[in-house]
Amino acid sequence: MNGSLNSQHDSRRQWLSRAGGGFGLISLAALMGDEGLLKRASGRERDWSQRALQPMAPLESHFPARAKRVIWLFINGGPSHVDTWDYKPELEKWDGKSIKEFAPEFENTTGFFKNAVGNLMKSPFEFSPRGECGKRVSSIFPNLGKHVDKMAFIHSGYTESNNHSPALFAMNTGMPRMGFPCVGSWATYGLGSESRDLPGFVVMSDPKGRGLPKGHAANWSAGFLPGVFQGTHLRPKGDPIDNLKRRSGQSETTQRQQLDLLQQLNQQHRESRLSETELAARIESFELAYRMQSVAPDVMNVEQETQQTKDLYGVGDPKCDHFARQCLLARRMVEEGVRFVQIYSGGMENQRSWDGHNDIQGNHTQFAGETEKPTAALLTDLEERGLLEDTLVIWCGEFGRLPTAQVASKPGRDHNPHCFTAWLAGGGIKGGVSYGESDDIGYKAAVDRVHLNDLHATLLHLLGLEHERLTYRYNGRDFRLTDVAGRVIREILA
């Protein structure tokens, strides 16, 4: 029960007493028996009260999962699809013409700056065929382009807002408003985490002082789900996780002795309240915390990697060192069983992220340069370690960009909610395929349109979760990540 301790059935209580030392590894599904959360396919508070004891204990998926964990590279600010992965030869022909000629229905409110709408503009980058599949890829991805045979492209994505934060919220939570749980929260709510010593859902943001993505922490919020499922934001400067370091003056010995006293007092307190399973969980949580102090910094220390690996990612390369470290850390974390990792490329808006209102060429050259080598390395590394087959890697931003120029000192491109490109690779994904099409100039998603809900449904499906059954009851309604829609894009599944 929320706000109160639970009395449990006798067998469960005894089981917990027996398991006292470390039941974190034991699947909670077993504990919950026939009335368990997943079988009931709803997150009623009744069930939650059981799970609150070990909220992150791993749970079984609805059906066998193709991917066990996710690394989402969030291309923050809105990458231009026509300058990255969505090759548009027709746009060259339309270069310099008004978009109204192509799309009479074009509205000035499509972008954000209605007074700076220029003519159609071809991509400043060359596109050349890459990989066996021959996918045409922009010249800003010399390394990443080698991996197209691992990627499934979605060229027909569309979203609901032309404004950063609502679009970020929509991409992360399915709703363009605040207050809803994000994908990572749903994933950990549905599956728990396989890591005992690390948070199940980790978020990394720009470490170069360019700010947080717009809307800040609401992008990794658990919304109305229990707070434990919110993303853990690794602080880009200083200690990445709060309170992980022993205070100065305290040694392992004195801390252990202090903890022993605490556990004696707690144990004694619990002995006259054996029915309260929460108290046992609390005792365990201190042991877990004690272990986290040594394990987590260890995992987060990418310096332990070989020079070869560090070179592969680009650690030490001033252009991409920061993102290389984050990608490497993401790999180390999923290796440890962390369920969901999200890395934001870029900070807030304009020149601080992929938000190329001004000088799209310079902007995308810079941000591709910061990320493409580490991302390529991540795919290589995951594959070599056998992790790619059950790790899903996603490359996606909050919206696309217009095929028109935005009038600026050097031409840029404005927001485009009608079309974006995303790619997925790894666990359960068919490589080297493209799904859906934008129109000839990349203004709107045209063929096999993919709504965010479809993307989310596909993502949950890969994790072995049926998006229609993963629900949480809140204020009288069963909520889903995909609300009342969502279609699994089976065409890109392996």
Binding site: M1, G3, L262, M292, G476
Partner: protein, 1042 residues
């Protein structure tokens, strides 16, 4: 909470369904059609039995639809679901349905394969063209809502006053008798009374959210134990007195206001990407604290939050209460295309929050369609939203301490009166004597003739600035400076042969940075000066000015005195560099003979610099007859007119003559005593009566809206009409709706006009729609008041017991839990209403019940019957919430800053109670979040309680926790070891340590001291003691209350 931006493919299909029915349908009604017979006998029953559970509109409504596939109509089958069409007519081999029921591809139905004969029937049916008369689903998407049936639902019933059942001696009051009756039904019984110490601690946390001090524990433990025996283990009289004491403490309001803040999704910023602060929103929090402490009747509490601005506009508390409606999120960064949907989202926030907070009803679920569970139509939703159509956030200035401020104002008036009297006394006594003496003694010296002769005239402003005449003849501007203005001065020339005119720009304490200008930096800019001779009946004649000179000019160019004489209206005299000082500018007439004594002139001062408010604050005009008058401020010597008056009085003393007043008026200005008295009076007078107004964020209508970022693009803040929308989409307006309530909560024979209130005046800025809503909400007999009372007492019960009698406090609808003790809930609700809706008596009654006072003792046998304690056979220990944990740590270490009210703080290390955190949606306090603090985005009826390792890390390693442990140690540092230990346990647990606890604690201290010594650290013993303090603060007993 529904998506509304797009018509979903699935729904599009439903709407279009009938249009795409095949032609076969036309023949379907022919009863003798063998295909119809085959379908009805073989196909339809099989579909209903094996498929509809997961593949029908009904399944979709229950959230059970699988694969997006509907099999309950012909078009749906042809269209199919996520995997494509279910059937292709004439082609069974290509029909997914067949491969699915053959278990080739999908294995359908999952419960087991159909008999071969049924599969063959389907194949035959498809081969024959899949004749299907079902043009539309049997259950239409629009479930018809039956209001009469809906009114039978338990929570929509009128309030009942049940007679309590009989009870045994276990029962202490009617609450217990209801509880006991249920226990008996199950063959259970309640626990005995908890110990006095446990009760003291329990009551302290429940009512105040902080632990009792050692003195309080000791005192009340003794009182509660007086005259007790095994039959009566608690002195109930003392216990009752203790409850009264606690309910009177101001911390009670701080504890219970916080519970309501969760429900009200209260925060102090807009949310979304910019998350701008609402710095004056905290008044709503202060209202809550005051309301609980004053025991504001709950119905009034409801009414004020909905419409306090209309119902009690003179009461600051009622205005503060309306912060409730505007406390939600709003995306201030909007493009034009998003304006209207953003406003509908804002209305939705008000509707949803009002619905769950007061009615426990998810009205918001009817935004896109009729409510799926409750009898609330989409039209009800939009009519409810229309109550808030014109409601906006606004800031008003309020006097929040009227009594204190009234006293201050009276004191001020008395001061002023006293100063005036002092001046009057001086003027009618000493001054006259001195003046007479001076007239007698002082020969007039021609050398003392003043260079400058003061003009007196009328000053007016194109921007309506107001001016007050000062005793020195200057004119002082009051009020707010306009952006720009033209000042016009009309006067008569008092002397002949005037050579020059002087404009003095004087400093004054009331001006920004003492002036002389009214710009925030104290500057002004005189774009141009124009002088006209005015002759009645003739057009004004411009007097040419030859040149100018000033005591100071800002530069030699565009801000010089010369620039005031050019044709450029912008460039002109300014004085930065000497701000705060009086300045003078002298302008020479081109022709000194042009103006005669007694001529009327008009002076125009152009003060419209693009830098706004660069206008003059205090001015004075004078003329000179000298060729080269001094360029200076002030008047030395005796002006011509005064000299003549003095001469007249010397010649013949006549107090009744005009010359007496003129001469005396000048003379008093030479007297230091008079100047001092006058200055004191003027200064005090300029201060004005003290107002001490506070800016308060309220929700209201017809006031200037709270400005925010979206104003930049012209966001309208509200639309004058609210439409009913299809699928919640502002692009699909159905019709304009009038304000209304929830139909199922209105008796069938009544109309909403029963509760309708009209504005007191036809031109009122207020619509009184919200007052009408509030009126209906709190009408127990025929409106929603019975439900409001049930929801309220349930919240009260929940915070005393950890779970409400209805376990879903924000959902009293069909999908919510049913009450575990319906009669008890009813009795409490009825009692709330009967007791003038006051909460404190109800708290007391609950806490005086045996149900509340019983111990937490566990019993295997009873637990096997009721493991979840649904019947309340025992009390369940509870973990404290984030606020109480933190406040308790501060409290026991004596570092809690008890200051109440006022702006909150974002500083995680502040020492006030946690309710005074500034709640910024993008910067929620991390330590609070660790312990399940809500995100403050939507109404939360009940917080979750998680137990996670980062909480343990906080106790172990956070610098703040360590500092508190150090302060706790400071509290006991002077005591002997044994007393130290006893005090620490008393402070943290409300009890002395057991022998075993004392032993292991002392052992720990020894071991820890030794360890520190071996690590060559100093203060080893102190470190060990602080470790012990930190351990107690981290322990389960500290944060779990029995």
């Amino acid at each position: 909470m529904q998506k509304h931006h797009h018509l979903r493919p699935f729904l599009a299909f439903i709407l279009l369904g009938p249009l795409v029915v095949g032609t076969t349908t036309l023949h379907a009604q022919e009863a003798d059609d063998p295909r119809l017979a085959f379908f009805e006998s073989k196909i339809r029953p099989a579909l209903i039995e094996h498929c509809y559970e997961c593949h029908s509109v009904e399944a979709a409504e229950k959230g059970k639809l699988r694969g997006g596939l509907l099999l309950d109509s012909s078009p749906a089958m042809l269209k199919g679901g996520e995997s494509g069409p279910a059937i292709i007519a004439h082609k069974p081999a290509e029909s997914l349905l067949i491969s699915a029921i053959r278990y080739d591809d999908f294995e359908m139905p999952p419960s087991g394969q159909l008999p071969d004969s049924v599969i063959e029937d389907f194949e035959a049916w498809i081969l024959d063209g899949a004749y299907d008369p079902r043009s539309t689903p049997t259950e239409s998407m629009k479930r018809k809502i039956d209001l009469d049936a809906g009114r039978q639902f338990w929570s929509f019933q009128p309030l009942d006053t049940p007679v309590p059942p009989e009870g045994t001696s276990w029962s202490q009051n009617d609450i217990d008798r209801h509880i006991e009756s249920r226990l008996n039904e199950k063959g259970l019984h309640g626990n005995p009374t908890a110990s006095p110490r446990v009760l003291v601690r329990r009551a302290w946390f429940d009512l105040l959210g902080i632990p009792p001090t050692p003195e309080e524990v000791t005192h009340w433990n003794a009182r509660l134990s007086e005259d007790t025996d095994p039959e009566t283990p608690i002195n109930r009289l003392a216990y009752s007195e203790m409850l009264d004491t606690l309910l009177d403490k101001p911390q009670y309001g701080e504890r219970w206001a916080r519970h309501w803040m969760d429900v009200a999704r209260f925060a102090e910023s807009f949310g979304y990407e910019q998350d701008y602060n609402r710095p004056n929103a905290y008044h709503y929090r202060d209202f809550l604290i005051r309301a609980f402490n004053q025991d504001l009747p709950f119905d009034q509490f409801v009414r004020w939050q909905i419409a306090g601005d209309e119902l009690a506009p003179e009461n600051p508390l009622a205005l503060m209460a309306t912060g409730f409606l505007g406390a939600g999120v709003f995306p201030t960064q909007l493009t034009e295309a998003e304006f209207e949907s953003a406003r509908y989202d804002e209305l939705d926030d008000m509707v949803s929050t009002t619905g769950v907070a007061f009615l426990g009803l998810s009205i918001g679920c009817a935004r896109c369609h009729d409510h799926k569970f409750d009898p609330i139509t989409a039209e009800d939703y939009y009519r409810f939203a229309a109550n808030f159509t014109t409601t906006i956030r606004a800031e008003v200035k309020l006097d929040l301490n009227p009594d204190e401020n009234q006293k201050k104002r009276e004191q001020y008036e008395a001061d002023l009166q006293r100063l005036k009297e002092a001046l009057d006394t001086y003027e009618s006594n000493t001054l006259i004597t001195e003046f007479q003496k001076w007239l007698d003694d002082t020969p007039l010296d021609p050398e003392t003739t003043a260079a400058w002769n003061l003009l007196s005239g009328k000053l007016s402003s194109s921007a309506n600035s107001q001016f007050t005449l000062q005793s020195d003849g200057s004119l002082l501007a009051t009020g707010t400076a306009p952006a720009g203005e033209v000042l016009t001065y009309e006067t008569e020339i008092g002397v002949s042969n005037a050579t020059a005119i002087r404009l003095e720009a004087l400093s004054h304490a009331s001006l920004p940075r003492n002036g002389p200008g009214r710009a925030p930096n104290g500057n002004f800019a005189l774009g141009d000066i124009r002088i006209f001779k005015v002759v009645p009946g003739e057009s004004p004649q411009r007097i040419q000015l030859a040149r100018g000179q000033a005591t100071h000019q800002q530069n030699n160019d565009s801000l010089s005195i010369a620039a005031s004489l050019d044709d450029n209206l912008v460039s002109g005299w300014a004085v930065d560099g000497q701000i705060g000082k009086s300045q003078a500018a002298v302008f020479w007439f081109e022709d000194p003979d042009e103006l005669k004594q007694g001529d009327s002139i008009r002076i125009e001062l152009e003060l419209k610099h693009p830098n706004t408010q660069h206008t003059l604050g205090c001015v004075r005009f004078s003329v000179s007859q000298q060729e080269t008058p001094p360029i200076e401020v002030g008047i030395e010597g005796i002006p011509t007119k005064v000299r003549a008056a003095i001469e007249a009085q010397i010649a013949e003393r006549d107090p009744d003559a005009e010359s007496w007043n003129v001469a005396l008026g000048w003379f008093r200005g030479t007297q230091p005593d008079w100047l001092k008295l006058k200055e004191t009076l003027d200064k005090r007078g300029a201060e004005g009566p003290p107002q001490n107004l506070s800016t308060v964020l309220i929700s209201s209508e017809g006031l200037p809206h709270l400005s925010h970022h979206a104003d930049g693009r012209g966001f309208p803040h509200f639309y004058p009409e609210t439409h009913m929308l299809r699928r919640g989409d502002p692009e699909q307006k159905v019709k304009v709706v009038d304000a209304g309530f929830v139909s199922v909560l209105i008796p069938g024979n009544l109309s909403e006009s029963e509760w309708r209130l009209s504005p007191p005046a036809p031109d009122s800025r207020l619509s009184y729609r919200r007052s009408s809503l509030a009126n209906w909400l709190t009408d127990v007999n025929e409106g929603a008041g019975a439900l409001v009372a049930r929801v309220a007492v349930n919240r009260l019960w929940q915070h005393h017991f950890g779970r409400g009698l209805v376990a879903t406090p924000n959902d009293f609808g069909e999908a919510g839990e049913r009450p575990s003790h319906p009669q008890l809930l009813e009795a409490l609700a009825a009692q709330l209403v009967a007791g003038d809706w006051q909460l404190k008596p109800l708290h007391k009654q609950i806490m005086l019940s045996q149900t509340y006072m019983q111990s937490t003792e566990y019993d295997e046998e009873r637990a096997s019957i009721d493991p979840d304690n649904q019947t309340w056979w025992r009390r369940m220990p509870r973990r404290l919430e984030a606020e109480a944990i933190r406040d308790s740590m501060l409290s026991v270490s004596n570092t809690l800053d008890p200051r109440m009210y006022g702006p909150g703080s974002l500083d995680a290390n502040m020492n006030r109670r946690s309710i005074y955190f500034f709640i910024k949606r993008s910067q929620l306090i991390p330590t609070m979040m660790l312990f399940d603090w809500p995100e403050h985005l939507v109404s939360i009826g009940r917080r979750s309680t998680t137990t996670i390792a980062p909480q343990a890390l906080m106790f172990m390693n956070s610098p703040q926790g360590r500092r508190i442990a150090e302060s706790l140690y400071e509290q006991v540092v002077a005591l002997e070891s044994k007393d130290k230990l006893e005090q620490l346990f008393l402070r943290c647990y409300g009890r002395p340590p057991s022998e075993q606890e004392a032993r292991i604690s002392l052992q720990f201290l020894q071991k820890q001291t030794k360890a520190y010594s071996s690590e060559a650290l100093n203060d080893t013993e102190k470190r060990a003691w602080i470790d012990l303090c930190q351990t107690l603060l981290s322990s389960s007993e500290f944060i779990y209350i029995d």
